[in-house]
């Protein structure tokens, strides 16, 4: 069960999502992808996409305006 971190600090809206989409394809089932973001818009569309794709998602607010989106690849 690997764990991969993706640093998307300072990246505007679609970039974290596109990076996460590409990354998750490389991962195996049960791997965990942690995306660091500080763009509020990505806080919405990243979890939305991941849930839609059927993965487990959690959001953790690290600091004011900084979040970790934790995605567990389910399938």
């Amino acid at each position: 069960m690997a764990e991969v971190e993706l640093d998307c600090m300072g990246e505007a809206c679609p970039i974290p999502l596109v990076k996460a989409q590409k990354k998750i394809e490389e991962l195996a089932v049960d791997d965990i992808l942690i995306v660091h973001i500080d763009h509020s818009c990505a806080m919405k569309n990243l979890p939305e996409w991941a849930r839609e794709a059927g993965h487990n998602v959690e959001i953790e607010e690290i600091d004011d305006g900084e979040w970790d989106v934790i995605i567990e690849k389910v399938k």
Partner: protein
């Protein structure tokens, strides 16, 4: 962590995802209490209303609606850019549908205001915003669309995220201002050579007042259904 959402529907576990200690942020700072600052900002807004109302009630109203609009925009994560972009990029259309609902609601409001004035024999307000449509509109929209996807926000979205403190978009805002300034400078030329060649269409002139709102709402409803179907179609394709 009150805003942590529950596990994904259909995801199964329902519990939290175990992450390794390595990646768990150890040096977590204690968050500052933001309530005093929030109250200060609220007081600032109220004082602004009072001060402005003395000089110009209209300005006070703009100040209030501007603040309220910004608040709603931030809290709902409403984003016109994402509404246009996500259907293609991720297949998510929840924001696109939200924009359509907003358009439907404002359409009804605008008809109420405009028809109200018309029925009383007053000049219809806001008619100077009925401007010609042509291929120039499509070209301009496409260019604006490319720009807003690259810069990560349209006008309102950029302003809202600058307010949130997202540094990169301060750059967007700066060049947005530069671009607007340049556009305003040459607007006469564009109007003369391109925009004025189109035809201004005011729907009530064509369909009548009732017809206009019915046609407009019907078009919005069709787009809403299309957006809904599109999301299901994309999600079904992904699950295969």
């Amino acid at each position: 962590m009150s805003d942590t959402p529950t596990a994904a529907p259909g995801g199964g576990t329902g519990g939290s995802i175990r992450r390794s200690l390595r990646s768990t942020p150890s040096k977590r700072r204690k968050k500052k209490n933001q309530i005093p600052m929030g109250l200060a900002v609220l007081a600032f807004i109220v004082i602004g209303i009072v001060l402005l109302a003395g000089g110009s009630p209209l300005l006070a109203f703009f100040w209030l609606t501007g603040n309220v609009f910004g608040f709603v925009l931030q809290k709902t994560r409403f984003c016109f850019t994402a509404a246009m972009r996500d259907p293609y990029l991720t297949g998510g259309t929840s924001l696109a549908k939200a924009v359509l609902v907003a358009l439907a609601v404002t359409s009804i409001g605008f008809v109420a205001i405009k028809y109200g004035a018309h029925a009383q024999g007053l000049p219809i307000p806001g008619q100077s915003f009925v401007v010609p449509v042509s291929l120039a509109t499509v070209a301009g929209g496409t260019m604006f669309g490319i720009g807003m996807v690259i810069s990560g926000g349209c006008a309102s979205g950029t302003l809202m995220r600058v307010g949130e403190g997202f540094g990169m978009q301060m750059l967007s805002l700066f060049f947005f201002v530069v671009g607007s300034f340049w556009g305003a400078r040459d607007f006469g030329w564009w109007t003369l050579h391109f925009i004025a060649r189109g035809k201004a269409i005011f729907l009530p002139d064509i369909f009548g007042w009732l017809g206009a709102i019915v046609v407009q709402l019907a078009v919005i409803a069709c787009l809403w259904i299309a957006a809904d179907k599109w999301a299901k179609h994309k999600s079904a394709a992904e699950h295969q």
